[in-house]
């Protein structure tokens, strides 16, 4: 959909993505909870926009606080960010790992329906249980009737099947090279962003490490190793969505914001298996629709944030975007074309594998990174945005290619 009036995003903020890999993470010690992350990310935005009195409403995207944290009724935490949000409109949205994207979509719709400044916040705190139980919770992103037949690590199992199908169709060796390069890019980018979960990673050759780690179905899944997977993360991200009036209210020039050029949200039937395991059908549909509605071609996009919950998902998204033909996404990635200095930089702050994947926060984190890149705020992880390719895109996925948000941005 193309917005019928100008819509902008500004003031993004990310907490640290906390979990294994961060030096300060200690699973045996008590850690900040859900409310801490909501408050930190929310206040991080409010500081940039003149405070809570400038905000009309808020949306919290979250996947499974009800199980990870035994907490529901998340809108009630908006006023916990700042008492200035008390008694204002607030809601929460859920679409599994696509919840953050849904928060953005909902805030855009708030603005299109009359709000001037809407706070979009995504959060997840997942390190409350061991990974083997966390896998149960995350499996809620699939159809529960398929849980019994699924793998102990349900989602790694789902995407292992996709990787296996890809190996069979296009060759395992090529695919593993692409997947390992994907991992290496993620680590190299994450090392430049101090909030990233892999910021402290010092591996001299992440590509070789990943390539040499043969997947082992007895201990984990058949076709992915643990480095092919995003980690378990605690974190939150937030940003405000504004109308032109809203930007004026918070005293920000539109050139400091990104404009939402198009936004698409589409869902695929959760009870149906993918028709082709080697294609992300819903992502292909939503991303290309967003690009078409923006009236551009993919080659006018300077950088993308894509949903690499698993390295294979990253490669399939490259193919879905048409950057490479089916079966050649792995070569495209292996050739370094998606690296930060490549022809199409993807996930410049590390993506889900490098920055982290606090599931409900991820979609918002993607928007924050694009805002930073297009407005020259990305600091150490800034990539060059060529004037001939001024657009950015975020693609956020819930479940196995089920709940998709795709948004095209340009500097305002």
């Amino acid at each position: 959909m193309k917005p019928h009036k100008k819509v902008y995003m500004y003031g993004g903020y990310n907490t640290v993505s906390m979990g294994t890999g961060r030096k300060e993470f200690n699973p045996k010690k008590e850690r900040p909870g859900l409310e801490h992350y909501i408050q930190e990310a929310g206040q991080g935005v409010l500081k940039q926009i003149g405070g809570a009195q400038n905000v009309d409403d808020g949306v919290i995207g979250n996947f499974m606080a009800a199980r990870f944290n035994n907490q529901a009724n998340l809108p009630g935490f908006l006023p916990y960010i700042d008492k200035g949000l008390s008694m204002k409109y607030g809601t929460s949205v859920e679409g599994a790992c696509g919840s953050g994207g849904l928060a953005l979509q909902a805030a855009i719709r708030n603005v299109l329906s009359g709000s001037e400044v809407s706070l979009a916040l995504g959060v997840e705190v997942q390190n409350t249980m061991k990974a083997i139980y966390g896998a149960d919770v995350l499996a809620g992103a699939g159809w529960f009737k398929k849980r019994k037949a699924g793998h102990a690590y349900f989602f790694p199992g789902q995407f292992s099947e996709r990787a296996g199908a890809y190996f069979q169709k296009y060759g395992k060796e090529r695919a593993r090279k692409g997947m390992s390069r994907w991992y290496a890019n993620a680590i190299e980018n994450a090392r430049l962003d101090e909030t990233a979960q892999e910021f402290h990673n010092t591996n001299a050759d992440p590509f070789a490490t990943c390539l040499s780690m043969e997947p082992n179905g007895k201990a984990f899944v058949d076709n992915l190793n643990v480095l092919d997977c995003s980690k378990v993360s605690d974190g939150a991200s937030a940003i405000v969505v504004c109308s032109e009036e809203g930007l004026k209210r918070i005293g920000v020039d539109k050139s400091e914001a990104v404009e939402v050029i198009s936004f698409v949200q589409s869902v695929r039937n959760i009870t149906e298996d993918p028709t082709d395991l080697t294609e992300l059908e819903a992502i292909k549909y939503a991303a290309n629709k967003a690009i078409a509605e923006a009236g551009i071609s993919v080659h006018q996009i300077g950088t993308a944030e894509v949903h690499d919950c698993f390295s294979i998902a990253g490669i399939l998204t490259v193919e879905a975007l048409g950057l490479a033909k089916p079966g050649e996404g792995c070569d495209y990635v292996a050739a370094g074309k998606t690296a930060r200095n490549g022809e199409f930089p993807i996930n410049t702050s590390g993506g889900l594998i490098g920055w982290g994947h606090p599931t409900g926060a991820t979609g918002v984190h993607q928007a924050v990174t694009i805002w930073q890149q297009l407005t020259g705020r990305a600091g150490n992880y800034q990539v060059n945005i060529d004037a001939s390719r001024p657009y950015g895109i975020t693609i956020n996925m819930g479940g196995d290619d089920v709940t998709i948000s795709a948004i095209v941005y340009k500097r305002g």
Partner: protein
């Protein structure tokens, strides 16, 4: 009788002890996994956990529950296959819970020996007392309806002696786990003169299913593990006593403990290891072994003194270390017991002085923790010890002698036929004692 039939009714004697609880855990898991195989559905598996102490049995069940949960979490992938036909068990939570129940449901904690009369297999992990073991084995053998096989965890008593005195007709084998059984990979398997092939083959199969490394030991008191450890400990005690006139008792104990840990790159110093095993246990094992040894007196008055002073080491049921030669805070030695003043003397108050006396360590020296898991372990050890060999400090001299003695002990175990090869001696020390290198080496 097939493998799984033998494991349908098992008794662990001394089940709540340090070794018994680990043996019980591993056996319970093995039995539960057998019971979950499709061909065994509907069969009953019973594991009697026999111990004299009700209180300890109470604690045992808590230990089991925690440990089984950890094991279940690690093998959740496999468990989902085990329970594939259970429509009611969907999530990992459900499956792990059910597995914990299924394992614990096999275990019968009890303080009456009579339950063993129905067992096909008896694991014995009671006190290291030959007469007591013989008495209990005889009692079970004479009352049993099942002609059970006896697996003894003795670390020092000759199996043939137990076999003959209890008239077990070769239906017995030494199956010596290392502490803690759930973690240590090593099992020493010792046949008596009469142990049948059937018993031996079952023992190997059982060890394999438990993913243990088996080292066969000849049936000689102390076998390989204690054959080395007890002599090594006695040498450490004698070395400390030799240094005593020069530096005083407390500092000498500290020096030898530091020497064995830091200079010889072992996981713990020799006196810490004695504490870990227990002062009384060490003394007792020596006294069990000693009558069988020729031209050798395996006895330390110092251990008797410690026992008289009730400074015993060993472990709390939580696994925490009790104070012995050394006093521990959060698992780290902080003081040394002075047998003369009968107080602990803080290590901080004298360690710098003794460290200076021992002298510098080789420049590339690293702690056991970083060497033992290193891919280039052998090359690193060779380099460190080559440098140590050129050094003339007190520490270097003591370390060279200590390693030579350890080497001699190992060689003697092979020469006396206790171990079949140098390799077997080294495997025991590497896997049972977590040493970074075997005693039979050319390093020093």
């Amino acid at each position: 009788m097939k493998y799984e039939e033998r494991l349908q009714n098992v008794t662990v004697l001394g089940a709540a002890g340090k070794m018994g609880s680990g043996i019980l855990l591993l056996t319970a898991i093995e039995m539960a996994d057998l019971s979950l195989r499709p061909e065994n559905k509907g069969k009953t598996f019973v594991l009697n956990a026999v111990d004299v102490s009700d209180e300890a049995l109470h604690g045992l069940m808590g230990y089991l529950r925690t440990q089984v949960q950890k094991i279940a979490e690690k093998k959740a992938v496999q468990l989902r296959a085990f329970y594939a036909d259970r429509a009611d068990l969907i999530e990992n939570f459900d499956i792990i819970d059910e597995y914990i129940f299924d394992v614990l449901n096999i275990v019968r904690p009890v303080n009456a020996l009579e339950v063993a009369y129905n067992s096909h297999l008896i694991f014995e992990a009671i006190k290291e007392d030959p007469a007591l073991k013989v008495k209990i084995f005889s009692q079970i053998k004479n009352n049993s309806k099942t002609e059970p096989w006896f697996f003894t965890n003795t670390s020092s008593i000759p199996i043939t002696e137990l076999d003959e005195k209890a008239q077990l007709d070769g239906k017995v084998i030494g199956f010596h786990f290392y502490n803690p059984p759930a973690v240590q990979k090593l099992v020493e398997v010792i046949r008596s003169k009469h142990t049948t092939n059937e018993v031996y083959e079952f023992a190997l199969q059982y060890a394999k299913n438990l993913r243990k490394v088996v080292v066969p030991s000849h049936d000689f008191a102390g076998f390989i593990g204690n054959g080395h450890f007890m002599r090594d400990a006695l040498y450490g005690i004698k070395e400390a006593q030799r240094l005593e006139p020069q530096m005083g008792y407390v500092k000498a104990i500290y020096a030898i403990n530091k020497l064995t840990q830091d200079f010889l790159i072992r996981p713990m110093g020799i006196f810490q290891l004695v504490d870990y095993v227990g002062v009384e246990v060490c003394s007792y094992i020596m006294s069990v072994m000693n009558p069988y040894l020729k031209n050798e007196d395996l006895h330390a008055d110092l251990l008797d003194t410690m026992i008289d002073q009730k400074i015993l080491g060993g472990q709390f049921s939580s696994g925490a270390q009790k104070d012995g030669f050394l006093k521990y805070e959060k698992g780290r030695p902080v003081a040394i017991w002075d047998i003369y003043s009968k107080t602990y003397v803080n290590i901080d108050s004298f360690s710098a002085e003794v460290d200076t006396l021992l002298g510098a360590m080789p420049s590339k020296m690293q702690a056991w923790k970083s060497i033992n898991f290193s891919k280039s372990k052998d090359a690193q050890l060779a380099e460190i010890f080559a440098e140590l060999l050129t050094m003339n400090t007190l520490g270097a001299e003591l370390a060279k002698k200590y390693n030579q003695r350890s080497n001699e002990i190992g060689k003697a175990l092979v020469n006396d036929g206790v171990a079949a090869s140098d390799q077997d001696v080294n495997t025991v020390m590497l896997t049972g004692f977590y040493h970074a290198y075997g005693p039979i080496n050319n390093y020093l």
